[in-house]
């Protein structure tokens, strides 16, 4: 497995973590009303979207490099 493939695996894990953090933040906000938790949740959701966009860019940029 090349660095390209491993980077994709890493990106998937990062997106899952960002979504989890967003859910965690929203849950904290719902329970406590903390503005910081809400801000954290929104930032995490935005980070997840950014990582997906970056992933598409990455695949385009390294399309000639092997997955092995």
């Amino acid at each position: 497995m090349s660095l390209k493939s491993f980077h994709l695996v890493f990106l998937v894990a990062s997106v899952v973590l960002a979504l989890f953090l967003a859910a965690f933040g929203f849950d904290q906000y719902r329970q406590s009303g903390s503005q910081a938790a809400l801000l954290g949740a929104i930032s995490s959701a935005l980070a997840a979207v950014t990582l997906v966009i970056y992933g598409r860019y990455f695949l385009r940029k390294l399309r000639h490099i092997s997955y092995l």
Binding site: M1, S2, L3, K4, F6, H7, V9, F10, A13, S14, L17, F20, L21, F24, Q28, Q31, S32, S34, A36, A37, G40, S44, A47, L51, Y54, F58, K61, L62, I65, L68
Partner: protein, 330 residues
């Protein structure tokens, strides 16, 4: 002697040797960290009741700083992006771009370690005080109070040290072991003994105010709730100053490995991960600052080396992606 298959793939594996080597190494690393994650789960599942505030015996989860941990996670993710961009720059034949990305990656690594050190220091100076009535508070000692206390204690200790040095010199002359006589000088972790040694009757403490963002929902920090009624500036996540009588205190301990199983496994896992970050940063820094010669002589070999180092770096970052939610959030 020429090292075989550093650039061209080996016919039987279809890969250059270093890539096979790094994956075998990473497999052993998976077993190492896997064992630690398993230990964490077993220790947590087997932790006794008394979740909070009985942090001395229960599982004191929720005491880590989530915003700082999240920022550190973002730093590591950014470093993974730049390390792969550095490799892509070499593939495109652009060494200057590679160097820029690689230096940024190394800076990210050291930022991560710097932030982690700050977090460690925060824990080393954070205390849990268990009272004789069964309640407990957590917090820091008031800086002014602590400074005065330590100064007094250091003076006393210094006098004692002079005496001990004399005894030590005498013992050395008589051929005895120094190790048996040298005192333990650490002042960092305060104990009830240290306070009573200085005849202190009460301590000024900056007691933590519970915050739903930092502490798990449903926890009951009994003693801290009482402090919030005092009309002081008591915001969740902040502190209120309290004078605590030492006669009411049952025990006092810093947030260090010996205080609770949680801190033992937390420091073990994060310190081991930190060592990996440091090792990776040194290797990546070596390629950034000393890779030019190899780039001129064997560009493909350097590109492969960077790929191998990048795989290691991604593994280290992936470990953190799992470690962060496990110890900070769940």
């Amino acid at each position: 002697m020429e090292i075989p298959y550093t650039v061209k793939p080996r016919p039987d594996t279809g890969l250059y040797n270093a890539k096979v080597g790094i994956w075998l190494f990473l497999a052993s690393e998976v077993m190492l960290f896997g064992a630690l994650f398993s230990s964490y789960i077993l220790l947590r599942v087997g932790a006794p009741d008394g979740f909070w505030p009985d942090v001395a015996t229960g599982w004191p989860h929720g005491l880590l700083n989530i915003p700082i941990g999240t920022f550190n996670t973002a730093v590591l993710i950014a470093s993974s992006v730049t390390v792969v961009m550095a490799w892509a720059a070499l593939k495109a034949g652009n060494f200057a771009k590679f160097k820029g990305f690689m230096i940024f990656t190394v800076l990210c690594a050291f930022s991560f370690l710097g932030i982690k050190s700050y977090e460690y220091n925060e824990k080393f100076t954070h205390y849990v005080v268990r009272m004789k009535d069964g309640t407990a508070v957590t917090g820091h000692f008031d800086h002014e109070f602590l400074h005065g206390f330590l100064e007094k204690a250091n003076d006393r200790r210094e006098k004692k040290n002079v005496e001990l040095r004399e005894i030590n010199a005498k013992a050395k002359a008589e051929g005895k072991s120094e190790k048996d006589l040298l005192p333990h000088l650490s002042n960092r972790f305060l104990t009830l003994d240290k306070f009573s040694e200085e005849s202190t009757e009460s301590v000024k403490m900056l007691v933590d105010i519970p915050s739903a963002f930092r502490y798990p929902v449903g926890t009951k920090p009994v003693a801290v709730e009482a402090t919030a009624k005092d009309g002081e500036h008591a915001e969740p996540g902040g502190h209120v100053e309290k004078e605590i009588k030492l006669a009411d205190v049952q025990s006092l301990a810093a947030f260090i490995p010996s205080t609770a199983t949680f801190f033992a496994i937390y420091f073990t896992m994060t310190a081991l991960h930190g060592l990996h970050v440091l090792g990776g940063a040194l290797i990546l820094g070596y390629f950034a600052f000393f890779g030019k010669k190899m780039w001129k002589e064997e560009p493909e070999r350097l590109t492969n080396r960077v790929e191998v180092a990048g795989l290691f770096w991604h593994f280290v970052d992936l470990v953190w992606i799992f470690l962060f939610p496990v110890v900070y959030l769940l």
